[in-house]
């Protein structure tokens, strides 16, 4: 490696967790700075957009872009970074499929603004002031980015080279991606990297019973503890959480996280996104869980059982709403 890699890390509609996760590569940071220079990372250093605009096209070797496209600023910078980067990586759940902020796609923009600025219990906004995109001051007109109707994933607005899922991506996988990039050993464009090739079940410490088990009661992990004494006949591992009635996204979620949540006895939340070839993760788990409901051929009974799933959309689409077939909106 003669020349150092120029790396950018940018955040759009995101929480900053992806940057923190990147720091979790711990002592590997030292190896990282040996091979790479950070040329953009608003989270930790003061870079100006004009600095980026001044870079020649393709100046950035790899740009890790996290966060979804919520407003005109995010879209503008995504387009800018696309131009300035040789390789653009959608990094983290939000850039991949909208992530948690995309749950707002279930509502209209107006309803969301009303909730945020007017009806939220802790608000103090007697005049009902709402955000505006422009404001005239004696000194001139001020502009704010325009909020879009819905949150979009990065590849809705620009061409994306690689996808690294996770909320956030786990450090080990981030490091393996960086190593692959540094070594120039990347799979074909469009691939999902830093992942396994199966579902979370593959790395899971629990196991299903051999005889088909149906769910007759759904449980919530903060209200009930999983029973670790029940064992699966197959290999004596504790019984699968889904079978125990906890809504676990593991079977519909791509492996790669090493089933961290499950190792802490928490059901999978699905942050690594759908398995290869699956479009809509929420729809997939909904039909899988629907199939497991112990309806005994009785539609009333099955409706009763299904009704125990609290916030099904928020659960099944916790990270995937921006990529859902529900309420799809084009920019």
């Amino acid at each position: 490696m003669t020349q150092k890699l120029k790396v950018g890390i940018y955040w759009a509609a995101s929480c900053g967790g992806c940057e923190i996760a990147t720091l979790e590569i711990a002592e590997n940071i030292l190896k990282f700075i040996e091979v790479a220079d950070l040329v953009l990372c608003p989270c930790i250093a003061d870079f100006k957009y004009d600095d980026v605009r001044a870079y020649p096209d393709g100046y950035i070797d790899v740009c890790f872009f996290n966060g979804g496209i919520r407003n005109s600023e995010a879209k503008e910078i995504a387009e800018l970074l696309r131009k300035k980067s040789k390789t653009l990586v959608a990094f983290g759940a939000c850039a991949n499929w909208g992530g948690i902020p995309a749950l707002a796609n279930l509502y209209t923009k107006d309803a969301m603004i009303e909730r945020s600025y007017i009806t939220t219990e802790s608000n103090d906004n007697p005049q009902g002031t709402l955000p505006q995109t422009s404001y005239k001051m004696p000194e001139g007109e001020l502009h704010l980015p325009k909020l879009f109707d819905s949150v979009h994933k990065l590849d809705d607005v620009v061409d994306v080279d690689y996808y690294v899922p996770g909320c956030p991506p786990v450090a080990k996988q981030i490091w393996s991606c960086i190593e692959a990039i540094a070594a120039g050993k990347l799979p074909p464009k469009g691939s999902v990297i830093g992942v396994g090739d199966k579902s979370v079940c593959d790395e899971c410490p629990f196991e299903k019973k051999t005889e088909g088990v149906r769910i007759s009661k759904f449980k919530r992990p903060h209200l009930e503890k999983p029973d670790l004494t029940k064992k699966a006949e197959l290999n004596n591992k504790p019984q699968c959480l889904l079978e125990q009635g906890f809504v676990c996204m593991g079977s519909a979620t791509r492996s790669g996280c090493e089933a961290q949540c499950l190792k802490a006895n928490m059901p999978c939340r699905g942050c690594y996104g759908p398995a290869e070839g699956v479009e809509d993760q929420g729809a997939k788990i909904a039909s899988a869980i629907g199939s497991l409901v112990d309806s005994q051929g009785n539609s009333e009974r099955s409706a009763e059982i299904v009704a125990q799933i609290v916030d099904p959309v928020g659960t099944f689409y916790r990270f995937g709403m921006g990529n859902s077939m529900l309420r799809v909106k084009k920019l």
Partner: protein, 666 residues
Amino acid sequence: MTNPRIGVYVCHCGTNIAGKVKVTDVVEHAKKQPNVVLAKEYKFMCSEPGQAMIVEDIKKEKLDRIIVAACSPLMHEKTFRKALEKAGINKYLFQMANIREHCSWVHEDGAAATEKAKALVTGAIYRAQYVEALNDREAPMNPATLIVGGGIAGIQAALDIADSGRQVYLVEKEPSIGGHMAQFDKTFPTLDCAACILTPKMVSIGQHPNITLLSYSEVEKIDGYVGNFKVGVRMKARYVDPKKCNGCGDCWQKCPAWRVEKPKGDKKVVHNALTLGPTKAIYMPTLQSVPNVPVIDKKSCIYFKNGKCKICVKACQKDAINHEMTDVVMDIDVGNIIVTTGFKTFDVSKMPQYGYGKLPNVISSIEFERMNCSSGATGGQVLCQNGEAPKSIAILHCIGSRDKEHHEYCSRVCCMYALKFAHLVKEKTGAQVYDFYIDMRAAGKGYEEFYNRLLEEGVRFIRGKAASVTDYAVFPEEEGKLIVRCEDTLVGKVRRIPVDMVVLCSALEANADAPEFARLLKLCQGKEGWFTEKHPKLAPVSTASDGIYIAGCCQGPKDIPDTVAQASAAAAQVLTAIAKGKVQIEGVGAEIIEEKCTGCKICNDMCPYKAIEFDAVKHKSKVNDALCKACGTCVAACPCGAIKAKHFTDEQIMHEIEGVLYDAKL
């Protein structure tokens, strides 16, 4: 991969399609779509020259995907697939766009229909880019047949098949076979005695070495597919062992409890109870019952109420009665199924204007049939409630039929059985008969002649639907009578006709359990509830489910000759299928992609055909090709997309949708 080469053929179907859809526009549109090498139109694609054109183009233009925009694939998919095979390419590389049933036949606006046809064709073209060649499989054909419903239809079909040497299981839910016909005395138009022509057939069923009669039984479960159905039949406990019982009747003669009581006091005849009895708690449905074995009615039996009695057990010299008997569930394997579950009559109390259930001597047609039956409660006499013969009687047609409030359709047999009733009344009582009809429908062989005969017998025919029946007398001659009000459309006057008895010719309607039964067998029901045939003209006894046939009144109202003809037709279809010896199973089906399966086992228990096995060593699931019926359940269930529905892959479906929406403004 080289690009596919697509040929598109748009059919006129005479004027069926071309009369509404601008076929040329559709062709021009198709030409502009990706990978379409040629697009043509033709008058009748399904004709010999139409098919020959496809074969020739495939060879000359090296086409490897064919799209025909025409009628329903149910109708002609097979036809065109054969053309592909003839031209030497895999038959699954074919796609049909239904622009007849889905376009020209259902839309008024020709321009809009044309746009829709374009969209459907585009969908087919987009999908065709992703279809793959598949291979059919073969499975053995089980030569046994299940027949559900032991009316005349079921009886006829069972005898036809059994006589050819094949095994038949006949399932009847009532204690005896015979259905409606067994309740009649005479049959129109020939007036031959129903029992005389039916009883010998019923007896043959009971004795035939190739027929297993499962009476008082119901089908509970059906798995499998054509050639290899697995059927679960529940044989309800009848509390009498058919192997020991000789039908002597000692039991019911001694039984002290009544299931349906004999008339008491000044009521000499209870018309409303005629269809059921009178019978004791242990009873034989009719004298001609097959099997000739009684059954205990649990509701009226004293032993089942308070644990004491068993007089019948003592009376029975054959030791055949056993109150401890329980339901038995039997599994049978068959290759084909014929459904002959018949009909029920419309509940005439739903039309209170005719007073059924409230006014004495207003009776339904089935009750009238029972009264005429020589083995029935009145010994075949037509009697009023007070035991006297009526001096005048009104027969009201179309009760529940040809009536938008109830059934829009004509029940087809009511005019004729009304004439039969009129004749019987004349013959037995000499009473004056008034026959209220809207139109006289006598369109069968010998039917018009039968009508003429009744005209000569002096029946008074009044053209007009009776409006109501009342006992409120306005004129002195109406005192103590039933008065039928009606607009006589020939005279153009409202008339009031006093009579002693009124017979309501109830409509034929689908059985109450038809929806449930349809779900069980995966049959379709039309909007009136009758089971739907595969094609109304060309496949009248087949259904959309391979290996399942329908015959008789479960398909729609019809008389006995038509019922028997259908039953024999269904039997012939089944025998043809058995003669082939094998069933071809479509190459369509589920496939688990091993690398993607995580062994989560969610699919394992989903398959209704038990086609999925779990390999504990590999920790992966696998579909057994021979058992998979391509229902798609597992495909939807697999949370990680490891199961591929061959011929219905996500890729194919999503692209088809994209094609259909090609000009949608999102």
